[in-house]
Amino acid sequence: MPTDIMIVEDSPTQAAMLEELLRSHGYETQTAVDGQRALEAARRRPPALIISDVTMPVMNGFQLCLAVKQDPRLCHIPVILLTSLSAPRDLLSALEAGADFHVPKPYHDDHLLRKIAEALAHRSEAGRAGPVKVEPVSVNGVTYRISASREKTLGLLLSTYEVAVGQYQELVQTRDELVALNESLELRVRERTSSLMDEMTERRQAEAALRELNVSLEQRVNDRTAELLAANKELEAFSYSVSHDLRAPLRAMDGFSMALLEDSAGKLDETAQGYLRRIRAGSQRMAELIDDLLNLSRITRAEMRRERVDLTAMAEEIGAEFKVSCPDRQVELVVTRAMVVRADGPMLRVVLNNLLGNAWKYTARCAQARIEVGAQEQDGKRVFFVRDNGAGFDMAYVGKLFGAFQRLHSAQEFEGTGIGLALVQRIIHRHGGCVRAEGAVGQGATFYFTLEEKGD
């Protein structure tokens, strides 16, 4: 016949777990939800062992235990109290109540089963103990009347000790785990710190290198700026000297040739006079070249001031000036309306003056000269153009067109120094634009240019 164990537990979940554990180990169980009912049930059908919770309604575990031990028919039944026993008072209360064992909650299944087996083995002793001497014990000013036998007291103390040892071992294990965890953490911190230090060192080195590079770059920029300033100054001095010193000898050549022509014309034959005229023409042409060179260098150095420029009005003004200076010419000038840009006004006037001047010059032999100034859209940009139906040029030489002092026509054919288009190109480049030309011999030429139009 299986051993019958009474479970006294108010929590249905804990009761069910305990029932499950005991039945799986071959015990039979009966369950009561408080001390009162347990006592009644025990009197009806005495179990081999009572396992009781402490905190319960109606009658708690201590009261139940006391009642069992005072009942002569039940006093031989061993009682195991499931307590926390965290305070000495609980232990004393258990002793006072005459509990045989106590098992701390939460319990290990094995521990509980071992205690059950032990309690069942000593069952006979519990019954034989008979009446014992009551010992009053005072703790914290409260007197407990301990009637338990020495064995019971010892057993309870041992259980407490066991619990304490178990808890101590758990604590030791936890501490060891903590130490190990701490060590591994420390190791990781050390590793991370060292890698951070490496990173910081690397970063510091990179920063230092960058600073050094910056300083050297700045130095190079300063040096280069100084060099450029010096070069610019030199260029200015050179231009100044050119404008001053190169012209004086030319003036002497021209002036004294003229003096000879005036004073000694009678002593010179026609050939000699022709030579003198050639000397004068040569010096004057050289003076023009010098002036053009100076203009080119000035345009390169001059400060740009962007403003609103009415290209239409400017082109018409320049056209009108040409018409006044050559009243004999019949030239049809067509200018697109409302071409307004932001650019340096005086510089743009040089551009239009040169492009229109060329168009004017190279249509001199046209019966029906036509010059067109306009704008067209190309790749989202405005492209301006000056088109004529004059002498044109051979596209094979288009590369030479914008070089300073490059000419595609002889001076006899069309006069000029060859500086105009070089000037145009420099000005357009300074505006961030491009200039190009299209043409064919005898079929006119078209010059296209763009301007980087900043702002509005």
Binding site: Y240, S243, R247, R251, D254, F256, S257, M286, A287
Partner: protein, 151 residues
Amino acid sequence: MNNLKTILLVEDNPDDLALTLRALKNHNVANKIVEAHDGVEALDYLFCTGAHAGRDTRQQPQLILLDLKLPKVDGLEVLRRIRNDQRTRLLPVVILTSSDEEKDIVSGYALGANSFVRKPVDFEQFAVSVRQLGFYWLLINEPPPAIGGLP
């Protein structure tokens, strides 16, 4: 001849000097022309020092034709001293130079030049310029009192 208005021609280049003199003569400018070949000579003449010590400082030229690029003391410095001296500060000064550098023109006017004329290479134009200068400054322009036509 003392009463005739004098022109001070400050020019270091002998060719330019000869051509200017020739142009003045050709256009019948009969005024006395005093030549100075550098800035120091010009200042000596105006302030009656050095080679011109003892000259009467009240006798000042009616017109100064001043080149800019001069040995020793340059033209702009000569102009500065002329304008800073009570005896000469009202004298008409025409800068006659090869340069057409903007900074020279600006400095010239800033220091109180009355005119700035660039010498053309073409002698005919040069002669016309000189004639017009003489015509304007010696005949048309009314000089400030206390210079030129004083007894």
